[in-house]
Symmetry: C2
Subunit: 430 residues, 2 copies
């Protein structure tokens, strides 16, 4: 349940999509790493907030207690700490596992790919953070997914908001995960969860509501920097100062048109410590479907300066910022679009079919195809001793093979091959 | 335990290796598919003989009982049956899981990649089987791993041997998995396991011993076709007839020089029904290491005509033959060879570093790098406001970046960029 096989047409489309994402990561100088699908359970504990209950655990068959990775960020942090690496720019494309309620039409699965790009290291503020946003902008533009917006916020600003609204520090994380639901449910519901489930006072909730419903650009940052309460809060002020610097850099990158400073953005995970962001498609440009499909967030990420330190015996911190591309949702969109266009993706790359017009020529076909393979040419033949020529040409048409190399008795006697262009039916002897 | 992280240098080498294997699979016209890492436990039960105890099971957290896949063959058969596919040529490169005793220096891990190519469908005998062997030959030759031999046998010949030696049919599979150990232990030990653990009579074991220690080529096939006992056995005769045909095709492919018909080859898995094969490296061509590293089998496969039918409600069979490349063992060899050669593999593809010789030019760098990225050029910059030029050039040398695009105050005033070849130090203004 919640997993799927990818038949060749899907695998080919997925391959094309992953190539586009990876080529962007490489354009930004990232190296690839790979980590196991299995992690020690202890590694995953306490990193995912309310997501913890969705972790797949392996049965205790003796030896270590294991779980399937929930994302690629925690394994990356574990990797950095284990190898005492303090500086690295890496990408990782791999499957992760969550025992969530699947919503397969919306591209939500229990096994799904994540495509992560992260920058680890102590650098001048906001330069790597700005690059992560540039990457999201490049990928979503390259893939021509239609209009999008990248919401940006900072955990320090949110924590500042909670503090000045009278929330005790112990309730910052629960308050945060409640605010995170604002993109799906109206403020009234979020407010009642805050007061009911999370135990915030109604007054605190109301004060929070005034902040977290704000969104804008540089003007809003300036306004909040002047806010009599918020400007008195040290972490909020730091966050707002960095947000202003981030907008400066994003202006140099020429991408502020798609960026929205949005105080309702909270992100569910525990480990974020600074800038957070999430990209959302604004509409589906698919006229062929009756209803536009809402696919929600297609990329997200943020800064997590404390996570690596959690895996280091001496607690040494390595500041990190990264982005994860929500490839499954994008895949759903591209798949529906391909279907609507009627375009057929080739699932193989075969250049030539080795064929015979007469019987008893299997040996000639086998010799020729062997020569072609050895020369690096992508070639197929039918696995029949005496196939009909029509069947062989039909196979070319069905699978998109452009050429047929035909050896008949005459060609064999003359020491030539007849090369046929399947579409135009033009033939040359060579 | 038994898993590992792949740092960038390893990931880059692995990427190169997998590309070589996949390009061979594509050369033979295979399409890619992908299946989940998780399978229902029931799907895996009864397919792996003595391997069954090595299956990783997931904890029962409610819902289905799951396990991690043990190979890619059983999921492929499940996929064919579920989708009622009766004809397909596919490849699949993915990780599989076995709770084995790890032997990491020999390239044996609990999580490892398999690279599988399989041909499903009812075709004329031995044509797809011969192609699988051609693929093994191409890959091992392309990778220049040194001399190798591909051992070939047929389960029908083995079963015929067991039958004429007086083994009851119920003990064919246990006898088979014991014979399979002949490549690691001497005949005496195999014999005593047959008699002691597997309950064969000493006479039967001795008779088996006379057959399974034979190996050769077409001559041996002819000899066994004349064998007074074996030639009377229907399945053995079928197997020997097909083996003769296979050798005919392999002669057309020009690869019999590396093929050995070896009656000791049995393969451990339950599901094989016909031709089986295994490629072994004969020696390590690594003069730099003190001892040659024995890495054992580097590819294996065979025919499994009954497996798909086990997943079909009506038992409909789809004949299949396939090959799995033992990428981890090959990887170990390539890694040791690379280490010995002292060659350093680049882990990134960055073409140009955007640099500044003076302070206060971060904005100019950010504007330029943004233009480069948008033009599809792989570019990096240091994440510092005012890095020293020497540090920037040092970074190029450390990571193999060939060019530096330098913007200083003069270049900015002139509206140009100074492009520097890092190795030759030659500069041009452009």
């Amino acid at each position: 349940q919640g997993t799927r096989d990818h038949p060749p047409a899907q695998a080919a489309l997925r391959d094309r999509l992953l190539s586009a994402v990876v080529s962007c990561f490489k354009r930004h100088g990232a190296a690839a790493i790979d980590t196991p699908v299995l992690e020690l359970r202890d590694t995953l504990v306490g990193k995912y907030g309310e997501g913890a209950k969705l972790i797949y655990e392996l049965q205790d068959q003796g030896g270590e207690l294991l779980a399937l990775r929930y994302d690629l960020t925690v394994p990356f942090a574990r990797y950095l700490a284990m190898n005492k690496i303090t500086k690295m720019k890496r990408y990782h494309v791999a499957k992760v596992y969550r025992r969530d309620n699947p919503a397969t039409t919306r591209g939500r699965f229990r096994e799904f790919y994540q495509c992560d790009f992260d920058i680890a290291g102590q650098f001048d503020p906001m330069i790597p953070d700005a690059e992560c946003l540039k990457i999201v902008h490049e990928i979503l533009s390259d893939l021509q997914l239609g209009d999008f917006v990248i919401k940006v916020n900072d955990r320090r600003i949110l924590n500042g908001v909670f503090a000045v609204c009278g929330v005790p520090e112990s309730k910052f994380i629960p308050a945060c995960s409640t605010v995170d639901k604002l993109d799906k449910v109206p403020w009234e519901e979020v407010r009642s969860e805050m007061v009911g489930e999370k135990g915030l006072s109604p007054e605190a909730a109301d004060r929070i509501g005034e902040y977290v419903q704000l969104h804008g650009g540089l003007d809003l940052i300036e306004q909040l920097l002047q806010d009599p309460k918020l400007s008195q809060n040290k972490v909020a002020k730091e966050g707002l100062g960095d947000m202003k610097l981030l907008f400066e850099y994003l202006t140099l990158f020429g991408i502020t048109g798609k960026i929205s400073f949005d105080l309702s953005l909270a992100r569910g995970l525990d480990y974020y410590t600074g800038v957070i962001f999430e990209a959302v498609l604004l509409q589906q440009e698919n006229e062929h479907l009756e209803e536009p499909v809402s696919v929600g967030s297609v990329a997200g990420g943020g800064r997590y300066d404390g996570l690596v330190g959690m895996f280091d015996a001496k607690g040494r911190k390595v500041p990190c910022v990264g982005v994860s591309i929500g490839i499954e949702r994008i895949f759903s969109i591209l798949e529906q679009r391909l279907e609507a266009s009627g375009e057929k993706l080739r699932t193989t790359e075969t250049q030539v079919l080795v064929a015979t017009p007469q019987k008893h020529l299997l040996a000639a076909r086998m010799k020729l195809i062997s020569e072609l393979w050895d020369a690096g040419i992508k070639a197929e033949m039918l696995y029949k001793k005496d196939p009909k020529l029509l069947k062989q040409l039909q196979y070319c048409e069905d699978t998109g093979i452009p050429l047929a190399a035909i050896v008949g008795e005459q060609e064999l006697a003359d020491g030539v091959v007849k090369l046929r262009d399947v579409a135009t039916r033009k033939e040359v002897r060579m």
